[in-house]
């Protein structure tokens, strides 16, 4: 198990408590609710979902930056040590996080060379001279110039700042990189540069990546496997090719069809009605059923489990049969039926 899986999460749950007003009774918010996943070394798992789906919390739980309320994470087969302990700190060097907003992630008053070198100091890697040489190598590895070592974050463009954040993240030679919306704040032409950089680093250093984003097109391009999250749960997981060419779960289908593709008309899209529900007021049964065009009575009562469908893919939907002979056939029908069902739903709603 430990040989073909770098990081594995089983039944991860994170519950926050929030209260309305000073004296209100605390209500439980299940940000992440029973997430299980595994990432093979050197591959990329994409996690997509709307805001509030728990994708970022999942990333933080994987890194051990937050303690799960239930469930556990195993890194190379070993359980993650408890938060803030000495062993936990050792793990920090082996897994790193890349944030969305590079300006917020960098110290404005510190030259970028010093910031990139910081993980080396913290984890006591190399002598001072070695560290300096390492920083210069890292600058080059992420496509910056060696003389930019003394630049400050404000002197760099957004794309260059994200390169600095990436250089800092890979300074301690981590095996796992969790990227949380790493290119969302960047312009289109720069996004592609940063995505290519991440792929190059993965190839040359064999880094395993968890790539969290709401941008399906970027996730499609960079991921080997993709997990779709909705209200704290994984609703579908498959290889990147399969999930975008033949999405099974009604939510994934809507998500894939909602991506505006240059040059295609608006029709034939499944426009979901309603808003993503509040994690604090999770609907009973399948959390997606209030927005689902094909929901049946069972969906309102019973939460569907994430079950294997065919080979190597999973879906959590009562209407996607796991025991059917053809493997990927399902009871939902074609996308056209879904579009039709969605539009009937629109006309029926007041």
């Amino acid at each position: 198990m430990s040989t073909d899986i770098l990081i594995e999460a089983s039944d991860l749950t994170k519950t926050y408590f929030s209260r309305r007003g000073l004296l209100g009774r605390p209500t439980a918010v299940h940000a992440v609710d029973g997430v299980s996943l595994a990432v093979a070394p050197g591959t990329t798992l994409g996690i997509v979902g709307e805001s509030g789906s728990g994708k970022s919390t999942t990333g933080r739980l994987l890194l051990g930056l937050e303690a799960p309320s239930a469930g556990h994470v195993r890194f190379e087969g070993e359980p993650m040590p408890a938060l803030e302990t000495a062993e936990w700190r050792k793990y920090r060097a082996r897994m790193q996080l890349v944030f969305q907003d590079p300006l917020a992630a960098l110290d404005r008053r510190l030259a970028i060379g010093a910031q990139i070198g910081e993980p080396l100091e913290i984890h006591n890697i190399g002598t001072q001279a070695e560290r300096r040489e390492r920083v210069l190598t890292l600058l080059q590895a992420v496509g910056l110039r060696r003389d930019q070592e003394t630049s400050y974050p404000h002197e760099l463009s957004g794309g260059q700042r994200q390169r600095v954040v990436i250089a800092r993240a890979i300074a301690s030679d981590p095996q796992l990189l969790v990227c949380d919306e790493p290119v969302s704040a960047l312009d289109v032409s720069i996004q592609a540069q940063v995505v290519n950089l991440l792929r190059d680093l993965q190839e040359t250093r064999g880094i395993t990546m968890v790539f969290i984003s709401h941008d399906l097109k970027v996730v499609r391009n960079i991921s080997d496997r993709v997990a779709v999250m909705y209200l704290g749960r994984i609703v579908e997981e498959a290889s990147s090719d399969e999930i975008f060419s033949t999405p099974l779960h009604p939510y994934t289908r809507a998500l894939v069809s909602s991506v505006p593709v240059p040059g295609t008309a608006l029709k034939d899209r499944i426009v979901l009605q309603g808003e993503p529900p509040n994690p604090a007021a999770r609907p009973a049964g399948c959390a997606f059923h209030p927005r689902c065009a094909v929901a049946i009575a069972r969906c309102r009562a019973e939460t569907p489990a994430l079950l294997a469908v065919g080979s190597g893919r999973k879906a959590a939907c009562h209407l996607v049969g796991g025991d059917q002979p053809a493997g990927v056939t399902n009871n939902i029908g074609s996308v056209e039926t879904l579009v039709e069902a969605a539009s009937t739903q629109t006309s029926a709603s007041p």
Binding site: E50, D187, V195, K217, N221, I222, P260, P262, G263
Partner: protein, 335 residues
Amino acid sequence: MSLVEISNLTVAFNGMRVLHGIDLAIEKGEAVGLVGESGCGKSVTWLAALGLLPRKATVGGSVRLGDRQLVGASRTTLESMRGSRIAMIFQDPSSSLNPVIRAGRQIAEAVELHRGLTGKAARFEAIRLMELVGIPDATRRFDNFPHEFSGGQNQRLMIAMALSGNPDLLVADEPTTALDATIQAQILDLLISIRAETGMAIVFISHDLGAVSQVCERVCVMYAGRVVEMCSTEALFLEPRHPYTRGLFDAIPSLDGGRERMAPIPGTVPQPGRLPGGCAFAPRCGRTSELCHNSLPQLVDLSNDRAAACFHPLGDGATVAVPNVAKARQGATVA
């Protein structure tokens, strides 16, 4: 006559030029997309047109709305235009709404201002607008505060407010950028249906070529404070002629493509104070000649309904293979 006619519009902040002469006409009822990366001047163009820029900005050129000149117009003239002739919505709806005033009240206030309705009549009209933009149970939700609505619903409220003055033109500045994919689809649909119902023109400002193509018939691509290509959406997607437009298409990964390497545009957008001599895109362009670095290409008509500012536009002569539709969509590089 065009609804809005912008000619040679320039904007400078503290003496530094950011907009270098924009010519753009918006016809009655049409939807035009303004596309470009951050800092290209797509938002500044319309903030300048509506007199919404801070005082340190110097605006030159002309923006005509009917027979009115908006550049340098008095505050009262501008205020009589804003909202009732041209309305604008922004990227982040929650920061455009007042958090301590009930949402319905804010829309009713706009109705009172633009339509002269008061009391019950204004309230009734505000509820009608909320229903028009798809807020369910509008009567009951009239008294809710903005934070009690979701991000998508806040954007709907902003659209309702923009519609309160029956404007001839709605300028939507990145209206879906802060929203989730499924909600973005809803708002795009809403904009299209509202345009069909009211017949108003839409200027859709976005960095998302996909979103623009769904709403607009015509697209204007901007780079470093200039329009570099302008044509119908269909023609642009079929065959981009400016290398920058082409680069933008190539940089977008496609959903039906595989894991092939992405094709970014090398380098970065030049800063306003440090524009290269000649074409601003030349340092990032793969088709440059001596000419590009020394002189500035003007926006010229290449064919009817198509203009580009480039000395060596793509598809010019037999030197470059014309990309077919499928290739343009998949973002394949020039063969």
